[in-house]
């Protein structure tokens, strides 16, 4: 019955839902996973890169884009993302022209959110299916496919004031929860200060992935030996109990 309220954007359903907006959020969840982690003086953005088709030029699939000297990973359908990104880029330069100061991240987020909101309240348009309309500051967050899993992982493993290495490692580790195929499907972008944005090379990412694998192996090894030790202990106790039982007759 409530389906009939999902055609037009500007109509509330009887139980207070804006279905078109919720469908848009669904579209976001279908998108590739993106993770952001804030360390002490650094922000690391990690994005899952879908496998490129054989004939496709991998350089043309960019998920982490420059807005000004800031970067942002878009979500959902790429076409919608591109429109928003262009509007944001123009706004960044316009802001610089008017007040001679670069935009703060907060300002540009507010601006993008405002544009997205406009598209949820006008007739004849549909919402952008990129990132949430509400703007909340996070120290670490994940969006897109399997974001719930990744967010839970981040909640368990996030520490305040992480160094550059720790932040990057955490970002890659959390993405690996989702990206089974490893380093070649991960893109990492590191921001260490104004206009100090670096994209990690594939070899660097592979090195960190290898390190994470080694640590996992070491952990698994320790667990195995602990289990073996307790099992041996239990077996020893059981056999002692047997012998004492039989001798205590």
């Amino acid at each position: 019955m409530s389906r009939s309220y999902d055609r037009a954007l500007t109509v509330f359903s009887p139980d207070g839902h804006l279905f078109q907006v919720e469908y848009a959020l669904e579209a976001v969840r279908k998108g590739t996973c993106a993770v952001g982690v804030r360390g002490k003086d650094i922000v690391v953005l990690g994005v899952e890169k879908k496998s490129v088709l054989q004939l496709q030029d991998p350089r043309t699939v960019r998920k982490v884009v420059m807005l000004d000297d800031h970067t942002v990973p878009p979500q959902g359908l790429t076409a919608d993302g591109r429109v928003l990104i262009d509007k944001a880029r123009v706004e960044c330069q316009s802001h610089r022209l008017t007040v001679e100061d670069p935009v703060t991240v907060e300002y540009i987020t507010r601006h993008i959110a405002g544009i997205q909101q406009k598209y949820t309240q006008s007739g004849g348009v549909r919402p952008f299916d990129c990132t949430k309309q509400s703007r909340v500051a996070f120290t670490a967050n994940a969006i897109g496919r399997s974001s719930k899993t990744v967010r839970e992982f981040l909640e368990k493993n996030y520490k305040d004031d992480m160094t550059r290495e720790e932040s990057i490692k955490l970002t890659i580790k959390s993405l690996l929860e989702v990206v089974q195929t490893g380093a070649k499907n991960i893109e990492i972008s590191v921001m260490e200060g104004y206009s100090k944005v670096t994209n990690l090379e594939l070899s660097e990412i592979e090195a960190i992935v290898a390190e994470i694998e080694r640590e996992k192996e070491a952990d698994a090894e320790r667990k195995r030996s602990r289990l073996a030790a307790t099992a041996a202990g239990q077996a020893a106790m059981a056999s002692r109990a047997d012998t004492s039982q039989s001798s205590g007759q």
Binding site: M66, L67, D68, D86, R89, V90, C92, Q93, R96, L97
Partner: protein
């Protein structure tokens, strides 16, 4: 009174502009920077109607930056000159045209050579080996005709520039005094002392 020079040499372009900001008989500021750095290898010296100059120069700066961010690739000097020329030409036929003269100098990384463009407020653009805007042109152009060498080293280029500056100081009624000198070469843009 506002004077700007520019000349090309072997693998570089020098752009120099005086640093005085004055109105009528008063020198308000003697350390004004009138050379905008439009990109990693692009310089633009501006002169003309006060107010129009900064307005237009900043507008150019922001749009060139927007292009670079959108396309992940900076505009080459020739393309930037075309863009600037078109903006000026469009403004000419509008209600209030910008009265700005420009010298656009840059290093083209794709072809590995320096480029220099003389642009005036009517929207004319010419590519030249050396150029001057302002009253100083009456004295400097003939000197540059005589002493400019397109294969000169940076030191020789700066020496030629010094000749022009000295001649203007000697003969122009209002001497601009200090100049800001910037160089664009394959390593980017930087300020130099002469």
């Amino acid at each position: 009174m506002e004077t700007s020079f520019a000349l090309t040499g072997k693998g570089y372009v020098i752009v120099a502009a005086d640093t005085t900001a004055s109105r009528s008989i008063v020198k308000m500021k003697v350390d004004q920077d009138k050379i905008k750095e439009l990109g990693s290898h692009l310089l633009m010296a501006y002169s003309g109607e006060p107010g129009d100059t900064i307005q237009f120069a900043e507008y150019v700066e922001r749009n060139i930056r927007l292009y670079q961010i959108r396309n992940l690739y900076p505009l080459r000097p020739a393309a930037a000159a075309s863009w600037v020329r078109r903006s000026l030409a469009e403004s000419l036929r509008s209600r209030h045209p910008y009265a700005v003269n420009l010298l656009l100098g840059g290093y083209d990384k794709a072809e590995d050579k320096p480029n220099l463009y003389w642009i005036d407020y009517l929207g004319s653009v010419v590519e030249v080996p050396f150029a001057v805007h302002g009253h100083g042109k009456h004295f400097a152009l003939s000197l540059l005709d005589r002493y400019h060498d397109p294969d000169a080293s940076l030191e020789e280029g700066l020496a030629t520039l010094k000749r022009c500056i000295d001649e203007v100081a000697k003969r122009l009624v209002i001497n601009p005094g200090k100049y800001k000198v910037k160089v664009a070469d394959k390593d980017g843009v930087r300020e130099v002392e002469i």
